[in-house]
Protein backbone atom coordinates (compact mmCIF):
# COMPACT_ATOMS: atom_id res chain seq x y z
CA UNK A 1 0.00 0.00 0.00
CA UNK A 2 1.51 3.28 -1.10
CA UNK A 3 1.07 6.43 0.97
CA UNK A 4 0.92 9.50 -1.28
CA UNK A 5 0.65 13.19 -0.52
CA UNK A 6 -1.43 15.17 -2.98
CA UNK A 7 0.48 18.36 -3.79
CA UNK A 8 -2.75 20.08 -4.85
CA UNK A 9 -4.76 19.77 -1.62
CA UNK A 10 -2.02 18.65 0.75
CA UNK A 11 -3.84 15.52 1.92
CA UNK A 12 -1.71 12.47 2.73
CA UNK A 13 -3.66 9.30 2.07
CA UNK A 14 -3.44 5.64 1.19
CA UNK A 15 -3.17 4.42 -2.37
CA UNK A 16 -6.86 3.43 -2.53
CA UNK A 17 -7.80 7.13 -2.51
CA UNK A 18 -5.81 7.69 -5.71
CA UNK A 19 -5.74 6.31 -9.21
CA UNK A 20 -2.55 5.62 -11.18
CA UNK A 21 -2.22 7.23 -14.59
CA UNK A 22 0.96 5.71 -16.04
CA UNK A 23 4.25 7.22 -17.10
CA UNK A 24 4.64 10.98 -16.69
CA UNK A 25 6.38 13.57 -18.87
CA UNK A 26 5.44 11.91 -22.15
CA UNK A 27 5.90 14.19 -25.12
CA UNK A 28 2.74 14.14 -27.15
CA UNK A 29 2.92 13.38 -30.86
CA UNK A 30 -0.44 14.04 -32.43
CA UNK A 31 -1.81 14.33 -35.98
CA UNK A 32 0.92 15.03 -38.53
CA UNK A 33 3.67 13.29 -36.61
CA UNK A 34 5.40 10.31 -38.20
CA UNK A 35 4.45 6.71 -37.43
CA UNK A 36 7.47 5.92 -35.26
CA UNK A 37 6.96 8.97 -33.01
CA UNK A 38 3.25 8.31 -32.71
CA UNK A 39 3.78 4.64 -31.85
CA UNK A 40 6.40 5.57 -29.29
CA UNK A 41 4.12 8.17 -27.72
CA UNK A 42 1.17 5.79 -27.61
CA UNK A 43 2.82 2.55 -26.55
CA UNK A 44 6.55 2.54 -25.80
CA UNK A 45 7.31 3.00 -22.14
CA UNK A 46 10.51 3.27 -20.12
CA UNK A 47 9.30 0.72 -17.60
CA UNK A 48 12.49 1.15 -15.53
CA UNK A 49 13.75 -0.95 -12.68
CA UNK A 50 14.25 1.92 -10.24
CA UNK A 51 13.25 5.57 -10.41
CA UNK A 52 9.96 6.08 -12.21
CA UNK A 53 8.01 9.28 -12.84
CA UNK A 54 4.30 8.72 -13.02
CA UNK A 55 0.90 10.38 -13.05
CA UNK A 56 -1.65 10.01 -10.30
CA UNK A 57 -5.12 11.41 -9.78
CA UNK A 58 -6.60 12.15 -6.38
CA UNK A 59 -9.93 10.59 -7.41
CA UNK A 60 -11.54 10.30 -3.97
CA UNK A 61 -10.21 13.68 -2.84
CA UNK A 62 -9.71 16.92 -4.68
CA UNK A 63 -9.89 15.20 -8.07
CA UNK A 64 -6.72 16.85 -9.36
CA UNK A 65 -3.90 15.21 -11.34
CA UNK A 66 -0.37 15.33 -9.97
CA UNK A 67 2.96 13.59 -10.53
CA UNK A 68 5.09 11.34 -8.37
CA UNK A 69 8.66 10.06 -8.38
CA UNK A 70 8.79 6.52 -7.05
CA UNK A 71 11.13 3.52 -7.01
CA UNK A 72 9.67 0.46 -8.77
CA UNK A 73 12.08 -1.87 -6.95
CA UNK A 74 11.22 -0.78 -3.39
CA UNK A 75 7.97 1.22 -3.82
CA UNK A 76 9.64 4.15 -2.00
CA UNK A 77 8.00 7.46 -2.95
CA UNK A 78 10.66 10.16 -3.33
CA UNK A 79 8.36 13.10 -3.95
CA UNK A 80 5.03 14.22 -5.38
CA UNK A 81 4.72 17.46 -7.33
CA UNK A 82 2.21 19.46 -9.39
CA UNK A 83 1.54 18.24 -12.93
CA UNK A 84 2.09 21.63 -14.58
CA UNK A 85 5.71 20.95 -15.54
CA UNK A 86 7.46 19.37 -18.51
CA UNK A 87 10.17 17.72 -16.44
CA UNK A 88 10.79 16.95 -12.77
CA UNK A 89 11.66 20.11 -10.79
CA UNK A 90 15.15 20.55 -9.32
CA UNK A 91 14.12 19.82 -5.71
CA UNK A 92 12.60 16.48 -6.80
CA UNK A 93 15.81 15.56 -8.66
CA UNK A 94 17.81 16.48 -5.53
CA UNK A 95 15.54 14.37 -3.32
CA UNK A 96 16.02 11.36 -5.60
CA UNK A 97 19.79 11.86 -5.89
CA UNK A 98 20.13 11.92 -2.11
CA UNK A 99 18.47 8.50 -1.88
CA UNK A 100 19.81 7.01 -5.14
CA UNK A 101 23.30 8.46 -5.82
CA UNK A 102 23.81 6.00 -8.67
CA UNK A 103 20.67 7.15 -10.52
CA UNK A 104 21.55 8.42 -13.99
CA UNK A 105 19.10 11.33 -13.90
CA UNK A 106 15.99 12.20 -15.85
CA UNK A 107 16.34 11.41 -19.54
Amino acid sequence: MLILTCPCCGVTAEETEFHGGGEAHLKRFGPGSDDADYESYMFSRKNPRGVHFERWRHVYGCGKWFLAARCTMTLEVFATYPAQTLEPPADVITAIKSKRPEWEGFV
Partner: protein, 415 residues
Protein backbone atom coordinates in the same frame (compact mmCIF):
# COMPACT_ATOMS: atom_id res chain seq x y z
CA UNK B 1 17.59 -40.47 -19.42
CA UNK B 2 15.82 -43.23 -17.59
CA UNK B 3 12.14 -43.29 -18.35
CA UNK B 4 9.72 -42.82 -15.48
CA UNK B 5 7.16 -45.61 -15.27
CA UNK B 6 5.31 -47.83 -12.84
CA UNK B 7 8.01 -50.45 -13.43
CA UNK B 8 10.74 -47.94 -12.54
CA UNK B 9 9.02 -47.21 -9.24
CA UNK B 10 8.77 -50.95 -8.51
CA UNK B 11 12.43 -51.47 -9.47
CA UNK B 12 13.62 -48.62 -7.26
CA UNK B 13 11.45 -49.81 -4.38
CA UNK B 14 13.67 -52.87 -4.20
CA UNK B 15 16.89 -50.85 -3.92
CA UNK B 16 15.96 -48.03 -1.58
CA UNK B 17 15.39 -45.60 -4.45
CA UNK B 18 19.12 -45.22 -5.07
CA UNK B 19 18.89 -45.59 -8.84
CA UNK B 20 17.11 -42.34 -9.74
CA UNK B 21 19.08 -39.94 -11.94
CA UNK B 22 18.97 -36.18 -11.48
CA UNK B 23 16.15 -34.86 -13.63
CA UNK B 24 18.36 -32.37 -15.46
CA UNK B 25 22.08 -31.69 -15.35
CA UNK B 26 23.58 -28.39 -14.20
CA UNK B 27 26.57 -27.80 -16.48
CA UNK B 28 28.88 -24.80 -16.65
CA UNK B 29 28.17 -22.76 -19.78
CA UNK B 30 30.22 -23.34 -22.94
CA UNK B 31 31.69 -20.36 -24.78
CA UNK B 32 29.21 -20.56 -27.66
CA UNK B 33 25.86 -22.02 -28.63
CA UNK B 34 23.71 -21.96 -31.75
CA UNK B 35 20.80 -20.57 -29.76
CA UNK B 36 20.78 -18.91 -26.34
CA UNK B 37 17.43 -18.48 -24.65
CA UNK B 38 17.27 -16.07 -21.74
CA UNK B 39 14.77 -17.19 -19.13
CA UNK B 40 14.20 -20.74 -17.92
CA UNK B 41 10.57 -20.36 -17.03
CA UNK B 42 7.85 -22.34 -18.74
CA UNK B 43 7.91 -20.29 -21.95
CA UNK B 44 11.70 -20.35 -22.33
CA UNK B 45 11.97 -24.06 -21.63
CA UNK B 46 9.06 -24.88 -23.94
CA UNK B 47 10.73 -22.81 -26.68
CA UNK B 48 13.93 -24.82 -26.26
CA UNK B 49 12.06 -28.10 -26.14
CA UNK B 50 10.23 -27.50 -29.42
CA UNK B 51 13.43 -26.16 -31.04
CA UNK B 52 14.98 -29.55 -30.36
CA UNK B 53 11.95 -31.68 -30.93
CA UNK B 54 10.58 -30.06 -34.10
CA UNK B 55 13.65 -28.52 -35.70
CA UNK B 56 16.53 -30.67 -34.45
CA UNK B 57 18.35 -27.66 -32.96
CA UNK B 58 19.91 -28.93 -29.75
CA UNK B 59 23.07 -26.83 -29.34
CA UNK B 60 21.03 -24.61 -27.05
CA UNK B 61 21.54 -22.97 -23.67
CA UNK B 62 18.67 -21.77 -21.52
CA UNK B 63 20.03 -19.34 -18.96
CA UNK B 64 18.18 -18.30 -15.84
CA UNK B 65 18.86 -15.57 -13.30
CA UNK B 66 17.27 -17.40 -10.37
CA UNK B 67 16.15 -20.98 -10.21
CA UNK B 68 14.21 -22.95 -12.74
CA UNK B 69 10.54 -21.98 -12.87
CA UNK B 70 10.97 -19.61 -9.91
CA UNK B 71 9.39 -16.62 -11.62
CA UNK B 72 5.84 -16.44 -12.88
CA UNK B 73 5.82 -20.15 -13.72
CA UNK B 74 5.70 -20.81 -9.99
CA UNK B 75 3.53 -17.79 -9.17
CA UNK B 76 0.25 -18.30 -10.97
CA UNK B 77 -3.09 -19.97 -10.33
CA UNK B 78 -2.39 -22.83 -12.82
CA UNK B 79 -5.56 -22.29 -14.85
CA UNK B 80 -5.65 -23.51 -18.46
CA UNK B 81 -8.34 -22.34 -20.86
CA UNK B 82 -8.68 -21.05 -24.41
CA UNK B 83 -12.11 -19.39 -24.55
CA UNK B 84 -10.84 -16.17 -26.10
CA UNK B 85 -12.78 -13.87 -28.39
CA UNK B 86 -10.19 -12.86 -30.99
CA UNK B 87 -9.08 -15.42 -33.59
CA UNK B 88 -5.30 -15.16 -33.08
CA UNK B 89 -5.69 -15.53 -29.29
CA UNK B 90 -8.06 -18.47 -29.54
CA UNK B 91 -5.68 -20.17 -31.99
CA UNK B 92 -2.56 -19.97 -29.84
CA UNK B 93 -4.29 -20.64 -26.50
CA UNK B 94 -6.19 -23.60 -27.98
CA UNK B 95 -2.93 -24.93 -29.41
CA UNK B 96 -1.46 -24.67 -25.92
CA UNK B 97 -4.47 -26.32 -24.30
CA UNK B 98 -4.44 -29.18 -26.77
CA UNK B 99 -0.70 -29.72 -26.21
CA UNK B 100 -1.35 -29.81 -22.45
CA UNK B 101 -3.71 -32.74 -23.02
CA UNK B 102 -0.82 -35.06 -23.91
CA UNK B 103 2.09 -33.19 -22.35
CA UNK B 104 2.61 -35.71 -19.54
CA UNK B 105 3.04 -38.48 -22.11
CA UNK B 106 5.18 -36.36 -24.46
CA UNK B 107 7.56 -35.37 -21.67
CA UNK B 108 7.36 -38.65 -19.72
CA UNK B 109 6.73 -36.41 -16.73
CA UNK B 110 3.45 -36.12 -14.88
CA UNK B 111 2.33 -32.51 -15.12
CA UNK B 112 -1.00 -33.47 -13.53
CA UNK B 113 -3.14 -31.87 -16.24
CA UNK B 114 -6.66 -31.94 -14.92
CA UNK B 115 -9.29 -30.97 -17.53
CA UNK B 116 -11.87 -30.38 -14.86
CA UNK B 117 -13.66 -27.60 -16.73
CA UNK B 118 -13.47 -23.82 -16.45
CA UNK B 119 -16.49 -21.57 -16.14
CA UNK B 120 -16.63 -17.79 -16.42
CA UNK B 121 -19.63 -16.44 -14.59
CA UNK B 122 -21.91 -13.90 -16.23
CA UNK B 123 -23.07 -11.63 -13.41
CA UNK B 124 -24.39 -8.67 -15.39
CA UNK B 125 -26.53 -8.52 -18.52
CA UNK B 126 -23.63 -6.95 -20.34
CA UNK B 127 -21.32 -9.79 -19.37
CA UNK B 128 -23.94 -12.35 -20.42
CA UNK B 129 -24.19 -10.81 -23.89
CA UNK B 130 -20.39 -10.78 -24.09
CA UNK B 131 -20.12 -14.47 -23.29
CA UNK B 132 -22.89 -15.42 -25.71
CA UNK B 133 -20.81 -13.67 -28.35
CA UNK B 134 -17.66 -15.48 -27.24
CA UNK B 135 -19.51 -18.81 -27.38
CA UNK B 136 -20.34 -18.20 -31.03
CA UNK B 137 -16.84 -16.98 -31.82
CA UNK B 138 -15.41 -20.09 -30.18
CA UNK B 139 -17.71 -22.30 -32.27
CA UNK B 140 -16.24 -20.74 -35.42
CA UNK B 141 -12.71 -21.09 -34.05
CA UNK B 142 -13.12 -24.76 -33.19
CA UNK B 143 -12.83 -24.14 -29.44
CA UNK B 144 -15.35 -26.18 -27.49
CA UNK B 145 -17.32 -23.88 -25.18
CA UNK B 146 -20.96 -23.63 -24.23
CA UNK B 147 -23.10 -21.01 -22.49
CA UNK B 148 -24.87 -22.65 -19.56
CA UNK B 149 -27.83 -21.51 -17.49
CA UNK B 150 -27.77 -20.72 -13.75
CA UNK B 151 -29.31 -24.09 -12.81
CA UNK B 152 -26.45 -25.93 -14.52
CA UNK B 153 -23.92 -23.64 -12.84
CA UNK B 154 -25.41 -24.55 -9.47
CA UNK B 155 -25.32 -28.25 -10.38
CA UNK B 156 -21.63 -28.07 -11.33
CA UNK B 157 -20.70 -25.86 -8.36
CA UNK B 158 -22.97 -26.69 -5.41
CA UNK B 159 -21.18 -24.22 -3.10
CA UNK B 160 -22.07 -21.23 -5.28
CA UNK B 161 -24.68 -18.63 -4.38
CA UNK B 162 -26.46 -17.85 -7.64
CA UNK B 163 -29.01 -15.41 -6.18
CA UNK B 164 -26.82 -12.40 -5.62
CA UNK B 165 -27.91 -10.08 -4.05
CA UNK B 166 -25.46 -7.70 -5.70
CA UNK B 167 -24.32 -9.87 -8.60
CA UNK B 168 -26.70 -12.78 -9.29
CA UNK B 169 -25.33 -15.51 -11.58
CA UNK B 170 -27.09 -15.18 -14.94
CA UNK B 171 -25.23 -18.04 -16.59
CA UNK B 172 -21.67 -18.93 -17.46
CA UNK B 173 -19.34 -19.59 -20.35
CA UNK B 174 -18.29 -23.20 -19.80
CA UNK B 175 -15.19 -24.79 -21.29
CA UNK B 176 -15.34 -28.45 -20.29
CA UNK B 177 -11.77 -29.26 -21.40
CA UNK B 178 -10.16 -26.35 -19.59
CA UNK B 179 -8.64 -27.02 -16.22
CA UNK B 180 -5.45 -26.87 -14.23
CA UNK B 181 -1.99 -28.45 -14.18
CA UNK B 182 0.89 -28.66 -11.73
CA UNK B 183 2.83 -25.49 -12.60
CA UNK B 184 6.27 -26.51 -11.26
CA UNK B 185 6.03 -29.85 -13.03
CA UNK B 186 5.56 -28.12 -16.38
CA UNK B 187 8.90 -26.35 -15.94
CA UNK B 188 10.59 -29.44 -14.52
CA UNK B 189 9.27 -31.73 -17.24
CA UNK B 190 10.41 -29.44 -20.04
CA UNK B 191 13.81 -28.95 -18.36
CA UNK B 192 14.31 -32.69 -18.05
CA UNK B 193 13.42 -33.24 -21.70
CA UNK B 194 15.69 -30.36 -22.82
CA UNK B 195 18.58 -31.69 -20.75
CA UNK B 196 18.01 -35.12 -22.25
CA UNK B 197 18.41 -33.66 -25.76
CA UNK B 198 21.81 -32.30 -24.73
CA UNK B 199 20.74 -28.74 -24.08
CA UNK B 200 22.25 -26.80 -21.18
CA UNK B 201 19.91 -25.47 -18.51
CA UNK B 202 22.05 -22.96 -16.61
CA UNK B 203 20.59 -21.61 -13.40
CA UNK B 204 21.91 -18.78 -11.18
CA UNK B 205 23.25 -17.03 -14.26
CA UNK B 206 22.00 -13.46 -14.76
CA UNK B 207 22.38 -11.64 -18.07
CA UNK B 208 24.18 -8.32 -17.59
CA UNK B 209 24.52 -7.17 -21.17
CA UNK B 210 23.85 -7.95 -24.82
CA UNK B 211 26.67 -7.51 -27.36
CA UNK B 212 25.79 -6.73 -30.95
CA UNK B 213 27.57 -5.80 -34.17
CA UNK B 214 26.09 -4.74 -37.49
CA UNK B 215 22.51 -5.14 -36.28
CA UNK B 216 23.08 -8.72 -35.09
CA UNK B 217 23.50 -10.07 -31.59
CA UNK B 218 26.91 -11.67 -31.13
CA UNK B 219 26.95 -12.62 -27.47
CA UNK B 220 25.37 -12.14 -24.07
CA UNK B 221 27.37 -11.11 -21.01
CA UNK B 222 26.38 -13.05 -17.93
CA UNK B 223 27.50 -13.50 -14.36
CA UNK B 224 29.09 -16.76 -15.56
CA UNK B 225 31.03 -15.15 -18.40
CA UNK B 226 30.38 -14.14 -21.99
CA UNK B 227 28.42 -16.61 -24.10
CA UNK B 228 28.33 -16.15 -27.86
CA UNK B 229 25.32 -17.19 -29.85
CA UNK B 230 24.08 -17.31 -33.41
CA UNK B 231 20.53 -16.56 -32.33
CA UNK B 232 19.10 -15.09 -29.14
CA UNK B 233 15.63 -15.61 -27.71
CA UNK B 234 14.44 -13.32 -24.90
CA UNK B 235 11.69 -14.94 -22.88
CA UNK B 236 11.73 -13.21 -19.51
CA UNK B 237 8.18 -11.98 -18.84
CA UNK B 238 8.20 -9.11 -16.34
CA UNK B 239 11.83 -8.22 -16.94
CA UNK B 240 11.53 -8.04 -20.74
CA UNK B 241 11.90 -4.26 -20.63
CA UNK B 242 15.26 -4.54 -18.86
CA UNK B 243 16.56 -7.11 -21.38
CA UNK B 244 15.29 -5.06 -24.33
CA UNK B 245 17.06 -2.05 -22.85
CA UNK B 246 20.34 -4.03 -22.83
CA UNK B 247 19.73 -5.01 -26.46
CA UNK B 248 19.02 -1.39 -27.34
CA UNK B 249 15.32 -1.24 -28.13
CA UNK B 250 12.17 -0.32 -26.26
CA UNK B 251 9.01 -2.39 -25.81
CA UNK B 252 5.34 -1.47 -25.60
CA UNK B 253 5.26 -3.17 -22.22
CA UNK B 254 4.80 -2.13 -18.60
CA UNK B 255 5.49 -4.39 -15.64
CA UNK B 256 3.05 -4.67 -12.78
CA UNK B 257 2.53 -7.04 -9.88
CA UNK B 258 -0.30 -9.56 -10.12
CA UNK B 259 -1.12 -11.48 -6.99
CA UNK B 260 -2.84 -14.60 -5.77
CA UNK B 261 -3.43 -16.40 -2.51
CA UNK B 262 -4.39 -19.79 -1.14
CA UNK B 263 -6.49 -20.83 1.82
CA UNK B 264 -5.89 -23.53 4.34
CA UNK B 265 -6.63 -26.99 2.89
CA UNK B 266 -10.19 -28.25 3.23
CA UNK B 267 -12.04 -31.32 2.02
CA UNK B 268 -12.98 -31.43 -1.68
CA UNK B 269 -15.82 -28.98 -2.29
CA UNK B 270 -15.39 -27.66 -5.83
CA UNK B 271 -14.11 -29.70 -8.77
CA UNK B 272 -14.16 -27.02 -11.47
CA UNK B 273 -12.45 -23.67 -11.96
CA UNK B 274 -14.72 -20.65 -11.48
CA UNK B 275 -13.88 -17.18 -12.72
CA UNK B 276 -15.98 -14.19 -11.73
CA UNK B 277 -14.77 -11.32 -13.85
CA UNK B 278 -17.30 -8.68 -12.79
CA UNK B 279 -16.14 -8.83 -9.20
CA UNK B 280 -12.69 -9.89 -10.36
CA UNK B 281 -11.85 -13.00 -8.46
CA UNK B 282 -11.31 -16.56 -9.53
CA UNK B 283 -11.03 -19.73 -7.59
CA UNK B 284 -10.22 -23.42 -7.88
CA UNK B 285 -9.35 -26.15 -5.42
CA UNK B 286 -5.90 -27.68 -5.56
CA UNK B 287 -5.22 -31.38 -5.14
CA UNK B 288 -3.98 -30.54 -1.64
CA UNK B 289 -7.38 -29.05 -0.83
CA UNK B 290 -6.35 -25.42 -0.74
CA UNK B 291 -8.67 -22.92 -2.38
CA UNK B 292 -6.48 -21.12 -4.94
CA UNK B 293 -7.68 -17.55 -5.42
CA UNK B 294 -6.50 -15.14 -8.08
CA UNK B 295 -6.85 -11.43 -7.60
CA UNK B 296 -6.15 -8.14 -9.23
CA UNK B 297 -3.07 -6.39 -10.53
CA UNK B 298 -1.57 -3.27 -9.02
CA UNK B 299 -2.29 -0.01 -10.80
CA UNK B 300 1.34 1.09 -10.94
CA UNK B 301 4.66 -0.14 -12.38
CA UNK B 302 6.26 -2.51 -9.95
CA UNK B 303 9.12 -4.99 -9.82
CA UNK B 304 8.62 -6.18 -6.25
CA UNK B 305 7.22 -9.69 -6.25
CA UNK B 306 4.59 -9.02 -3.63
CA UNK B 307 1.02 -7.88 -3.63
CA UNK B 308 -1.07 -5.33 -1.77
CA UNK B 309 -3.40 -6.01 1.14
CA UNK B 310 -6.26 -3.97 -0.26
CA UNK B 311 -6.35 -6.15 -3.39
CA UNK B 312 -6.70 -9.23 -1.21
CA UNK B 313 -9.52 -7.55 0.65
CA UNK B 314 -11.33 -6.61 -2.57
CA UNK B 315 -10.95 -10.08 -4.09
CA UNK B 316 -11.96 -11.99 -1.00
CA UNK B 317 -14.86 -9.68 -0.25
CA UNK B 318 -16.26 -10.31 -3.71
CA UNK B 319 -15.75 -14.07 -3.57
CA UNK B 320 -17.36 -14.41 -0.14
CA UNK B 321 -20.59 -13.08 -1.59
CA UNK B 322 -20.54 -15.67 -4.39
CA UNK B 323 -19.16 -18.49 -2.20
CA UNK B 324 -20.52 -17.84 1.32
CA UNK B 325 -18.92 -21.01 2.74
CA UNK B 326 -15.39 -19.64 2.33
CA UNK B 327 -16.04 -16.80 4.78
CA UNK B 328 -14.52 -18.75 7.69
CA UNK B 329 -11.43 -19.95 5.81
CA UNK B 330 -8.01 -18.79 6.89
CA UNK B 331 -5.69 -17.69 4.14
CA UNK B 332 -2.33 -19.42 4.21
CA UNK B 333 -0.08 -17.78 1.67
CA UNK B 334 -0.10 -14.85 -0.68
CA UNK B 335 2.35 -14.07 -3.46
CA UNK B 336 2.91 -11.73 -6.39
CA UNK B 337 4.48 -12.12 -9.79
CA UNK B 338 5.69 -9.43 -12.17
CA UNK B 339 3.64 -9.55 -15.33
CA UNK B 340 4.40 -7.67 -18.52
CA UNK B 341 1.33 -5.90 -19.84
CA UNK B 342 0.99 -4.66 -23.40
CA UNK B 343 -1.44 -2.00 -24.57
CA UNK B 344 -3.90 -4.51 -26.04
CA UNK B 345 -3.31 -7.17 -23.36
CA UNK B 346 -2.10 -9.64 -25.98
CA UNK B 347 1.40 -11.13 -26.13
CA UNK B 348 4.34 -10.31 -28.35
CA UNK B 349 6.12 -13.10 -30.27
CA UNK B 350 8.25 -11.13 -32.61
CA UNK B 351 11.37 -10.28 -34.50
CA UNK B 352 13.24 -7.29 -33.08
CA UNK B 353 15.39 -4.48 -34.50
CA UNK B 354 18.33 -6.90 -34.11
CA UNK B 355 18.21 -9.45 -36.93
CA UNK B 356 18.96 -12.61 -34.97
CA UNK B 357 17.25 -11.62 -31.73
CA UNK B 358 13.68 -12.68 -31.05
CA UNK B 359 11.38 -11.79 -28.21
CA UNK B 360 8.48 -13.52 -26.53
CA UNK B 361 6.79 -11.42 -23.87
CA UNK B 362 3.66 -9.51 -22.94
CA UNK B 363 1.69 -12.53 -21.76
CA UNK B 364 0.52 -10.36 -18.91
CA UNK B 365 -1.88 -12.23 -16.70
CA UNK B 366 -2.31 -15.18 -19.10
CA UNK B 367 1.10 -16.78 -19.23
CA UNK B 368 0.81 -20.19 -17.66
CA UNK B 369 -2.03 -21.50 -19.80
CA UNK B 370 -0.18 -20.61 -22.97
CA UNK B 371 3.21 -22.20 -22.23
CA UNK B 372 3.19 -25.07 -24.78
CA UNK B 373 1.62 -22.98 -27.56
CA UNK B 374 3.95 -20.07 -26.90
CA UNK B 375 7.00 -22.35 -26.98
CA UNK B 376 5.73 -23.99 -30.17
CA UNK B 377 5.31 -20.63 -31.94
CA UNK B 378 8.54 -19.12 -30.58
CA UNK B 379 10.59 -22.17 -31.60
CA UNK B 380 9.27 -21.83 -35.16
CA UNK B 381 10.17 -18.13 -35.20
CA UNK B 382 13.72 -18.77 -33.96
CA UNK B 383 14.33 -21.78 -36.20
CA UNK B 384 13.02 -20.23 -39.43
CA UNK B 385 13.68 -16.57 -38.67
CA UNK B 386 10.09 -15.82 -39.70
CA UNK B 387 6.89 -16.27 -37.71
CA UNK B 388 4.59 -19.16 -38.46
CA UNK B 389 0.78 -18.95 -38.55
CA UNK B 390 0.43 -18.94 -34.75
CA UNK B 391 2.87 -16.10 -34.16
CA UNK B 392 2.50 -13.79 -37.15
CA UNK B 393 -0.38 -11.74 -35.71
CA UNK B 394 1.55 -11.19 -32.49
CA UNK B 395 4.46 -9.23 -33.96
CA UNK B 396 5.54 -5.99 -32.30
CA UNK B 397 4.76 -4.06 -35.47
CA UNK B 398 1.04 -4.42 -34.79
CA UNK B 399 1.22 -1.39 -32.49
CA UNK B 400 2.61 0.80 -35.24
CA UNK B 401 0.13 -0.60 -37.77
CA UNK B 402 -2.88 -0.42 -35.48
CA UNK B 403 -3.63 -4.15 -35.78
CA UNK B 404 -4.48 -4.70 -32.13
CA UNK B 405 -5.60 -8.06 -30.82
CA UNK B 406 -7.73 -6.35 -28.30
CA UNK B 407 -8.41 -8.83 -25.54
CA UNK B 408 -8.48 -6.03 -22.99
CA UNK B 409 -11.74 -4.84 -24.45
CA UNK B 410 -12.95 -8.39 -25.10
CA UNK B 411 -12.36 -9.52 -21.55
CA UNK B 412 -12.95 -6.22 -19.82
CA UNK B 413 -10.49 -7.27 -17.14
CA UNK B 414 -7.18 -9.01 -16.81
CA UNK B 415 -7.40 -12.46 -18.31
Amino acid sequence: MKRYSAFAIAREAFRQHKGWDEAWSSPEPRAAYDVVIVGAGGHGLATAYYLGKRYGITNVAIIEKGWLGGGNTGRNTTIIRSNYLQDPSAAIYEKARSLYETLSQDLNYNIMFSPRGVMMLAQTEHEKRGYLRTERANALQGVETRFIQPAEVKKLVPIINIDGPRYPVLGALWQPRGGTARHDAVAWGYARACSDMGMHVIEQCAVTGVESAGGQVTAVNTTKGTISCKKLGIVVAGHSGALADMAGFRLPVESVALQALVSEPIKPCMDVVVMANTVHGYMSQSDKGEMVIGGGADQFNNYTQRGSWHHIEETVRALVETFPMISRLKMLRQWGGIVDMTGDRSPIISKTPLGNCFINCGWGTGGFKSIPGSGWAMAELIAKGEPGPLAEEFSMSRFREGRFIDESVAAGVAH
